[in-house]
Amino acid sequence: MATISITAPFDEKTARSLRAGDRVLLSGTVYTARDAAHRRICEALDRGEAPPFDLTDAVIYYVGPAPARPGAVIGSAGPTTSYRMDAYAPRLMEHGLRGMIGKGPRSDAVAEAMARYGAVYFAATGGAGALLARCVTASEPVAWPDLGSEAVRRLTVKDLPLTVALDTEGRDLYRLGPAAYLASL
């Protein structure tokens, strides 16, 4: 399987070119947000206010990093389980969100929104937080420091190893992968 290098933010055409199962090395800028931050972003949109970062072509990493040791950029920083963000993700895609990084299957509503707006869902290896943290070269706070590890941060990443888990045509590696393995037996 070829590995594709991508830089975030990226456009709709790039998102639509990716296929479930593709290996991606992601560099560039991603924003951290999980349950509480998603809720606040949607509340801001409800009030007609701008979210704390531009959602256009943005990539969100579902992560609440551990605190950085002195001299380190960030602490352990692996993905959290994505389905908890399913309630909010379509709304964010409507406002330009282009990519999501997490782990675990997504809902049909998320898959439909991804097809409609041209967004892609990547998985990072859950529980490999120490390894993934090495790909983070910079981290700065953006919003809501009261949320602690759930605050929104802007991360600069270099060659973050990801797998396309769900693509813009509804192909889902959480279904296709196990089916292919069982068919091989």
């Binding site: 609440g64 605190p67 959290t80 290896t125 490999a128 120490a130 759930e150 190893p161 959480y174 292919a180």
Partner: protein, 280 residues
């Protein structure tokens, strides 16, 4: 009566919190290595390789294996001939968690109230369970558990008529239904019997057993093997992307129950099956 200083309890809980989050127990590491060697699906082998590399890096750099350093459960086995001096036992435990999570750069993941959800800032309060046992020692086990796998855990109040087949189906359905969410390969703790409140605790305590030792009761040893074999035929695989290695081990903890009940609790642990113990 032997005296144990509360400050020693605080020190031990702090140290064990850091150790548990950064250094995976040897039996779990061995199980992951063995699973990687037995795995035939290329993508699955690669993920198990990454997990192995992460384990080595965490221990070397004293960085948490996973950013979710969990809700902390502390199991105490207090000898009935021991006496805690210089402060309250539970205060000492909470202070240990506070220090360990602060000094060890571990994530603070506890909110004070489930609805208003304000972070307590120091990962307290930990959940503490105490068993009074013979002797004059205090055994402390710190078990940090992340939400990804805890959220996939289930309790079933089965009827006696559902029997062994019902139990098997509930365990398999729970783990299959969890799919890639709890970071497979998982360790599956099963609490069988007891009551609505005790079955989940039996299941969580089962996760503390060594992965190397078979169940002392041959019936349950065989059932553990049967369930593991069935899970590893599900195809879910590491991270849910397909492969043989869906679970590393099934551990059953059975207890007496009511004539009209058959509780079964399934406590799923991710591959970072973390715990650390010390005896004071």
């Amino acid at each position: 009566m032997r005296e144990i200083d509360a400050r020693a309890v605080t020190e031990a809980v702090g140290r064990l919190s850091i150790e548990a989050c950064c250094v995976l127990p040897e039996d779990v590491r061995r199980a992951i290595s063995a699973a990687a060697a037995a795995e035939t699906w290329p993508g699955a082998r690669e993920i198990l390789g990454d997990i192995g590399e992460n384990i080595a890096l965490s221990a070397r750099a004293c960085v948490p294996l996973c950013q979710d350093t969990g809700l902390t459960t502390v199991f105490l086995e207090l000898g009935q001939d021991a006496h805690i001096t210089g402060g309250g036992l539970y205060d000492a435990v909470q202070e240990g968690v506070r220090r360990g999570y602060t000094e060890g750069y571990l994530r603070k993941s506890v909110v004070r109230d489930p609805i208003s959800r304000v972070n307590t800032g120091d990962n307290t309060p930990a959940t503490v369970y105490t068993d009074i046992v013979p002797g004059d020692a205090l055994r402390v086990t710190v078990c940090p558990k992340g939400a990804g796998s805890e959220n996939m855990s289930r309790l079933g109040m089965l009827t006696p008529a559902m029997g062994l087949e019902g139990v098997k189906a509930f365990v398999l359905d729970t783990v299959r239904g969890a799919g890639g969410n709890p970071c497979p390969p998982t360790v599956v703790g099963v609490g069988l019997g007891g009551s609505f409140d005790s079955a989940p605790l039996l299941a969580k305590k089962a996760l503390l057993r060594s992965l190397d030792a078979p169940h002392p009761d041959p019936f349950y040893a065989a059932l553990e093997d049967e369930l593991l074999t069935a899970l590893n035929r599900s195809g879910i695989g590491p991270q849910g992307f397909g492969g043989r290695t869906t679970a590393l081990r099934v551990l059953i903890n059975a207890a007496p129950t009511h004539i009209a009940m058959l509780p079964v609790a399934v406590c799923i642990s991710c591959h970072a099956a973390r715990h650390a113990s010390a005896v004071l």
